[in-house]
């Protein structure tokens, strides 16, 4: 029994060693890792400050969002199949409304991440994207894996423990459009009306 246990333990140690031994990343993945590391640290530094007025928090989040995220691509993604059913005018109206909602709902969330341990791990290519893996750990808390989907130096999606920001928003918006019986105009009004987040 003990022998087997030791064997199993050795096996586990061997696998965990093997997991860290290989991997020469191409330049693009290294670049993406550098970019996420830099942006992540700045975000944690500027958005977790204590007693900062809401407006200042929102403006620093806005600048980070515009610098690091491809907001128009995300906006297109979250609309899913409804994107092509929107007129160009509606599309142009939607993007700022969407960005504003992102700011309203995420600017405050970083308060949760005060003093967390942010680590960049592996990065790998997935079709046109580079997936940068990282972990966030609150002191004494569990290790939370966070994946960043990067393309051309801009973030397209964040996955926290397998939950994608873009997919969640897309599901919410799809349901909202359906509850407005597919009426995009009504949907845009509901969204900009600020039913949520305030």
């Amino acid at each position: 029994m003990i022998k087997r246990l030791v064997c199993a333990i050795m096996a586990i140690l061997f696998y965990s060693q093997a997991a860290f031994s290989d991997g020469v990343s191409p330049d693009s993945t290294d670049e993406a890792r550098q970019f996420i590391e830099d942006l992540g640290r700045r975000a944690i530094a500027s958005l977790t400050k204590v007693s900062v007025p809401q407006s200042q928090l929102e403006s620093s989040f806005k600048s980070l969002l515009e610098e690091g995220f491809d907001v128009s691509s995300i906006a297109q993604f979250v609309m899913g199949r409804y994107w092509n059913r929107m007129t160009p005018h509606q599309q142009n109206r939607f993007i700022p409304i969407f960005e504003n909602r992102l700011i309203k709902s995420y600017a405050n969330r970083f308060q949760e991440y005060r003093g967390v341990d942010f680590k960049i791990k592996d990065a790998h290519q997935d079709a046109d994207f580079v997936i940068v893996q990282s972990t966030i750990q609150k002191t004494g808390g569990p290790l939370t894996p966070v994946d960043w989907r990067v393309k051309n130096g801009k973030i397209h999606d964040i996955k926290v423990e397998g939950v994608s920001m873009s997919i969640t928003i897309r599901d919410e918006y799809n349901a909202l459009i359906q509850s407005n019986s597919g009426n995009i105009e009504q949907f845009l009004q509901t969204l900009s009306g600020g039913a949520v987040g305030e």
Partner: protein
């Protein structure tokens, strides 16, 4: 079975007693009493029977529903590039249960979780979580075995033995310090590993977001747990009280960890029901992916490319 045994013994005892007195009336009464007891016991066992039947029906249903709705996938796949409706045919019922759960959470569970956070310092909270997690180890072990995860099963046994002794009944998670972290799993994940799909989304009263597969998982895990079996077979209130303590404390300690996360989600969501449903299916797909990776690692077919920095 214990209960049945008790009834049979009781009958024999009473019959012997009545035979000694040769009192026919008493004998008849005794028989009547025994019959009533039998009926009562059938009802007690019927509850388990109903639970069993429910489990079987729930197990068969998703397969049939999936067959019927082949063009309406379950949403458990990675849905990055395709738009598909969620697998939620019971949405009206689910929304109702969800609303009731939300109310219960607002009135009872969240406030109690707040009190729990306020009363206990973080170290004690960790201790409580460790004890509760350690109590789940037997079930976790069974599921690792059923999934064919030999190493994880071994680690779970090692963790359980070490933490229960050196770790003072699981209070201190000494094995994680030694480099053997907890591999959590449940019967839902076992079914997942066996290739069973989530089936339709189902909100359970008190427990929250789940699916047909998840429900089977909860039922199976509950009845397979040695501690639950032990406590359920003792027909005395004080044993059942410990069951309530166990699951009550577990619920509260888990809810405490999610206070901010759920508040934030609720505040930023246009439809909290849809948000939670989306997250549920994404999490299931993520766990399935992780299980697959773990299996591949075990078979040593897929080298994991990892580079660690910082």
């Amino acid at each position: 079975m214990n209960y049945m045994g008790k009834i049979v013994k009781e009958r024999e005892f009473l019959l012997v007693k009545s035979r000694g007195k040769k009192d026919k009336v008493r004998k008849r009464r005794t028989k009547l009493k025994w019959t009533l007891n039998m009926i009562q016991s059938v009802f007690i066992f019927r509850r388990r029977f109903i639970a069993f039947i429910t489990t079987v029906v729930l197990a068969i249903l998703p397969i049939q529903v999936d067959a019927l709705t082949a063009t309406h996938p379950t949403g458990s796949a990675d849905r990055l590039d395709v738009d598909e409706g969620p697998n939620d045919p019971l949405e009206p019922l689910n929304r109702l249960t969800f609303a009731v759960n939300e109310l219960l959470d607002f009135v009872v569970i969240r406030p109690v979780a707040e009190i729990y956070r306020a009363i206990f310092p973080e170290t004690i909270q960790h201790g409580i979580t460790n004890v509760l997690d350690n109590l789940f180890a037997p079930v976790v072990f069974f599921n690792h075995v059923l999934q064919g995860e030999a190493e994880r099963a071994t680690v779970t046994v090692f963790r359980f033995l070490t933490n229960s002794t050196f770790g003072l009944f699981g209070l201190v998670d000494v094995t994680t310090e030694l480099g053997f972290p907890r591999y959590d799993t449940d019967f839902n994940q076992t079914l997942m590993a066996w290739g069973v799909d989530t089936g339709p989304y189902l909100i359970l009263p008190l427990i929250g977001p789940s699916s047909f597969r998840g429900t089977i998982g909860y039922v199976a895990d509950y009845y397979a747990d040695p501690l639950n079996i032990y406590l359920n077979n003792r027909h005395h209130f004080k044993y059942h009280y410990w069951l309530t303590v166990r699951y009550g404390l577990y619920t509260i300690s888990q809810r405490e960890k999610l206070i901010e996360t759920l508040d934030n989600l609720r505040n930023s969501s246009p439809d909290f029901y849809v948000t939670m449903r989306s997250i549920y299916f994404q999490r299931q797909a993520y766990i399935a992916e992780k299980l697959k990776v773990a299996n591949n690692m075990q078979q040593n077919t897929q080298p994991q490319k990892t580079k660690k920095t910082g």
